[in-house]
Symmetry: C2
Subunit: 344 residues, 2 copies
């Protein structure tokens, strides 16, 4: 092994070294690298050649102090005790992946911070010169954390939220109401008649309540009544879904479909139905929400409502980086048909 960790620092090349070797002033090096028209093409070429030869790279901190930009977006992921890595909440990491891709397409780096209510919360990345904007992702359950970020948003721009329970914030959300309608109409179209809703509403996310309202409206159009499964606020989402389904079926064995407010809730419903030997989709249909890739692995693969994460990422970046203010944005959702709903 020839690599030596200290090599880089010892060999660190500055713009002054480039200037000396190229026979110009340091300020000319800066101008040449910035593409300034004050530098002749010949000089620029010479400076670039020397910079390459010496392995000179621009220090982004110094450059950032001059330009006022960091070309970085900070992403805060709020985690509860039940969302700990490595299992985490895979949906957040799928959204994070989309944000990294969208950021990269704009020439931005992504600074990721996992934070929890119990730990130290921080959204000061712009003020500290570490980012040009900050995106906060999390479930509405982390209420004290959201209160902190909501206050921060009042005193600063360049903050965008996914999952905030506050309506008067700058956020991006799924078209939750539309998604609830799509899921419910799909189940009705495929002949299911008693469709129960699974998802804690009382203390839970506003997003779940929005999905519920779409479900309720789709039922009302066909003269049907909503059936709300009991909430189990404890445990992870999968366990909540399992208990809600068990309670529901024990209460009314004629339930023939579930609309679960998240895919992880739906996985728990699937578990319970398998346990009691109900065939999905023949006896009971299920639609989830989130479009998680894990839904391709469940048995049967889960039909789900998927938000357009690429569009969500772009909208969050516009809000956080470009400072698009005073707006809330909904991203479109679509039904991904897998195999937990019977075919026509």
């Amino acid at each position: 092994m020839s690599s030596q960790p200290s090599e880089t620092k010892a060999a660190r090349v500055t713009s002054f070294d480039v200037a000396e070797r190229a026979g110009v002033n340091q300020s000319t090096v800066s101008r040449a690298l910035a593409g300034s028209p004050q530098v002749t093409p010949a000089t620029r070429e010479r400076v670039l050649a020397v910079a390459r030869e010496l392995g000179y790279t621009v220090d982004q901190r110094a450059s950032g102090l001059r330009t006022g930009r960091t070309d970085t977006v900070a992403v805060v992921i709020l985690q509860g005790p039940e969302d700990k890595a490595p299992s985490g909440n895979p949906f957040y990491f799928e959204l994070l992946g989309s944000i990294c891709e969208a950021a990269s397409a704009r020439g931005l780096e992504t600074l990721v911070s996992l934070q929890s209510e119990e730990g130290r919360l921080s959204g000061d990345y712009v003020k500290r010169g570490q980012a040009d904007g900050t995106i906060v992702i999390g479930s509405a359950r982390h209420s004290s954390a959201w209160t902190y970020f909501q206050q921060l948003q009042r005193s600063t721009g360049n903050l965008a939220f996914w999952g905030s329970p506050f309506d008067d914030a700058r956020w991006v959300r799924s078209d939750n109401h539309g998604g609830g309608r799509i899921a419910t109409s799909h189940l009705l179209d495929r002949g299911y008649r008693k469709i129960a809703f699974v998802g804690p509403l009382g203390t839970g996310p506003g997003q779940f309540a929005e999905r519920f309202s779409g479900y309720r409206d789709a039922l009302a159009e066909r003269g049907a009544q909503p059936i709300e499964a009991s909430s189990y606020p404890d445990g992870d989402r999968k366990s909540q879904g399992y208990h809600a389904a068990r309670d529901m079926i024990e209460r009314d064995g004629s339930i023939d479909a579930f609309f679960a407010a998240s895919d992880r809730l739906a996985f728990g419903v699937l578990d319970y139905l398998k346990e009691i030997g109900r065939d999905v989709p023949e006896d009971v249909g299920i639609v989830g929400f989130d479009g998680m890739s894990a839904g391709t692995i469940s048995s049967p693969p889960l039909t789900t409502v998927a938000p357009d994460l690429a569009k969500a990422a772009e909208a969050l970046l516009r809000m956080a980086i470009d400072g698009e203010a005073s707006v809330t944005q909904r991203v479109k959702v679509r039904l991904i048909e897998r195999a937990s709903v019977r075919p026509t």
Copy 2:
């Protein structure tokens, strides 16, 4: 909405503002905030109080230029066309989550960059003053990308790899050989007799070859021969596993177990067995590798070999940040028993 995106910049408070209000020199403010003993406790208290009052925060870029530290670790995730977000390779994001947690515990931020062979590769984060070290995560399939990072590691320290195909690099890996042994012995202990190995070896990752050698050695100890399923290099891992299992069973219907070199391969094997009506675990047992949380959702839930991701993250940080050189590290693995292997 009262928030105005430009508010922060307009109101930006500098150390000179703090100095003026506190009635000291700017250099005293810097020393006070850095905890210098040259400043009396009383002055330090006054400076801190004024800084709080004015909402002054230290600009990390300027601070970094002074201290030479960024308190940031860069993580490059290599993606192939088949690993695109949002589905991505969930294992990398589980490892990323562990790195973010371990970094946070050390007071470090995490800068994430998704890169692909087709796109521009970059690992110059330390040189550009954006990170104190860089971790590269990816599968060995991205061979031209690994060649780039391998060359970079020769000329610089503070680079650590997960997934590199090069043995003479500074990397952290799972105890792949041990994991292959554990998986295979477990299947033998539970009475399976004809255990096939699923995972492309020829052009594939060194890690898969290491898992295969553990499998082969465990069989040899009991006088059994390895049975290698055909490789399907195209498609995603799940599809590769499906085709390998189909080919294997069509070739030899008496195969009664599979050790798959990754969980995603195992999910494809499960799919094929379900399709032909073989009961898992009664007729056929399966063990995967990676400990992915998605394995709790498959039917049946997947028994798997899990690397200790928290330890892996710590080892990668020691290599990347502390410049722990000339070493390669193995992290321990353990068997997570779920339900794809029959009970004793």
